[in-house]
Amino acid sequence: MKRRQFIRVGSYGAAGAAVAGGLTTDWYGRYANPIADPGTDGDRVVPSFCELCFWKCGILAHVKDGRVTKIKGNPKDPLSNGQLCPRGAGGTGLLYDPDRLQKPMVRRDKRGAQVFEEVSWDDALGVVAENFERIKAEHGAGALALFSHGYGGSWMKHLFKAYGSPNIAAPSYAQCRGPREVGFDLTFGSGVGSPENTDIRNARCLVLIGSHLGENMHNTQVQDFADAIRNGADIITVDPRHSVAASKSRWWLPIKPGTDTALLLAWMNVIIGEGLHDRDYVEQYAYGFEQLSEHVKAFTPEWAYPRTGIEPDVIRRTARAMGAARPATLVHPGRHVTWYGDDTQRSRAIAILNALLGSWGRKGGFFIPSQVSIPPYEYPGYLPHDDQAADRPAPSDYPLADQVLAQGVCDATVPGVVGDSRIKAWMVYGSNLPTTLPDPENTYKAIQELDFLVTVDVLPAEIVGWSDVVLPEATYLERCDELFAPWWREPYVAVRQEVVPPMYDSKPGWWIARELGKRIGLPEFFPWKDSEEYAKTRLEAAGLDCDVMRADGVILGEPAPLYFEEGALPEFYTDSGKIELYSPKLAALGFDPMPTYDHSALEEPPEGYYRLLFGRAPVHTFGRTTNNRLLSEVYRENEVWVNRDVARRWGLEDGERVYLQNQDGKRSSFSAPVKVTGRIRPDAVYVVHGYGRRAPKLRFVHGKGIDDNELITRYKVDPIMGGTGMNVNFVTFLRADDLEVAS
């Protein structure tokens, strides 16, 4: 009120002053007012692609006086289309992070004590080589494992393959996207890959199941999401939390966590029962429609209601909206889908629903991607693997896992957990395992069993503190990497170029892999001078112009038809050659050939506990960016989302700090403020993943917020492919004030 009054007074004075002041000169009339130029345009602009997340958008990095001033989207790049998400725009916050690893280090105290000595690269690589060679000689190359996340990891994977180790794991599989790939592959004969072949921009009905586009900022998907909104698409969001996407939706279905498959089955029931499916498409391309019709008969909306909390009428109306818009109805497969341990079957249900709606290979559903083919670099040939990956006792466990299970490799390091203890050494590339694999205590236990642990990273993350040797990598702006030629709407090749030389004593991944390769008897696998020469060789073999590539950052390939109606071939790489609504493969392996829902398997939170859900903030790629001071100006610390009624019952105030403690008595290391909100169900709480960091050398983010991962002491493993369902933990609140008084 006071402020308003003041403004009004101010406004009265305004007219006179504005006239007296004139429009372009100051009140003395002596100096013109110049237009100030902040001077951030580069004297060099280098095209490259981003690594703040794993989408790999094309960027233009402005360099002035040797410093990267700003990063723009590359308009020629089909993933960024000239625009960026906040992380991409904030890449300088990583490059100039004062906490970066600067020199190679060797541990001089027990693991985790963070006592290191800075050494030369020669010494550091010597220690790594000596340990690798010793362990290979004693136990075979299969005793070595690589965990990798990020595009620069390609060089380390190459090194490990050349060395003969099959244990190359990425948590992005069994802790993230794996079930979706397997579920779609079982149904359509292909996964959706990354970037996904979802035709969001042309969808007339978009169904998001726990997928929080807009908070999950995969640039092109969000661009397309905005197009779908502009086009007036019917958007249906299924989420226990009123996400940003939910706020853009015609329907928000605040489902009871863990019951999504029941909803999907009920939708199938309505779609088949009311004849809303694409009969011609199903008849022509699908196998097992009759079995499926029979199977879903019992799963009525009335059956689903008490399980999911979604009213029968809403289930019917949303099913009809999907039917009305088909085949331009996209039931989005999601991305992080390791939730409840039945995730492959839930992904199967999503795939089947899409099949019924005829959306695979159709405009507004899933486009058929294409790729620029680039011949591989000619090497003498990798050595044959000397054994199976050690991630599970027998290949018949998790039979459809088509990548190595990261948690399995971790477990196989501890004697007696996965048969005989076999893994003796890890290399960890850009993958902070204590915040990535469920239950960090388990990871620490495995680390203590190791003979040797080497980390390649940019920042002093938790895993660095546990390492024997730490190799500081140059950031994505300081190195050239492997070429990027994704399966996408427009086939193209992109190149990552060195924008500025590596800072400190950091080295690019290719250099680290090559120098290590030379020391462990693999020089023939690294015949190139540097990654630029490597990329050039591949580009020339593909008949592509290196100068154009250097100048533009991308080269577009020949576009191919995207949809069946445009001439894309309706080919399904399943055993039957058809879309498998009924999966003989799953039946033969003893799994349900069609998804079912077992409500008795759903655990309810104990009294006073709430299901712990986690997700993303748009400015962060989990813990990889939370120390980025530039990005953190927008989002500094995570909050615990608590339903308003729950908060009232607990007497919790907005902003009050709490610790979370889970069903096993595990308490969060740090506290976070409560966000009292109507935007979440009363039976769940939500935090943004990537906080509660325990690594003291991440000086900015250390101690801020709560790490959901340390509260994930339980997980349910997907029996089909070994994914770790992590949304199965329950937490209660401990007031920070009470705890601090008590202590």
């Binding site: 007219a15 960026l84 725009a89 009123h242 989002y635 909100t677 169900r681």
Partner: protein
């Protein structure tokens, strides 16, 4: 009124609150650490499960009757190209009268200079051949529109004609040139 009147229109329907505009502005304009010239505002109404949320990317409104200009004792705050509101750093004494006068809380003191800083509508770009502001250029949802409000053919004019739009605090009487689409 000048021939050109720059204005901005933000589509709240497509904005996802990602804050790419904030980060791009910070790097384009070398904004001081800890401060920003634009920001995200979200307004939630209703209660579980009947909720509505509106998201806005906000900044200086470049008012036609700008109280910051009228209260400025030195003429540092002034009307610049296209009727934008600008601050000349060398003339600013950091007296903060404009901070108090601005109904939109769009101004702050840059600790490096002691002078006022705020959104310029990227006049260094738009007056020099780059027709976009940094926030508009980066926006992954293309929710930010910038252009000449006096040109009936401009995108901003077209949007204001064809869509429901509003300005913030119209009762403050400052005639803001920043609009939001419902």
């Amino acid at each position: 009124m000048s021939a050109v009147s720059y204005g901005m229109v933000v589509d709240t329907r497509t904005c996802v609150a990602c804050a790419a505009c904030v980060i791009a502005c910070k790097t384009e304009n070398d904004v001081a650490e800890g401060f920003s010239r634009d920001w995200i505002f979200t307004a939630t109404s209703g209660s579980f499960p009947n909720l509505e949320m509106e998201i806005r990317s906000e900044r200086c409104n470049h008012c036609e009757d700008a109280p910051c200009v009228s209260v400025c004792p030195t003429g540092a705050s002034h009307y610049g190209p296209g009727g934008t509101v600008q601050v000349t750093e060398s003339k600013c004494t950091g007296c903060k009268a404009c901070i108090a006068a601005c109904p939109y809380d769009a101004r702050f003191i840059d600790p490096r200079t002691g002078a006022i800083d705020k959104c310029t509508f990227c006049v260094h770009r738009v007056e020099n051949g780059t027709p976009t502001t940094a926030c508009q250029e980066v926006c992954p949802t293309k929710s930010i529109y910038f252009g000449d409000l006096n040109d009936p053919e401009s995108e901003v004019s077209r949007l204001l004609r064809t869509r429901q739009a509003y300005a913030l605090l119209p009762d403050a009487g400052t005639r803001p040139k920043h609009f939001f689409l419902k």
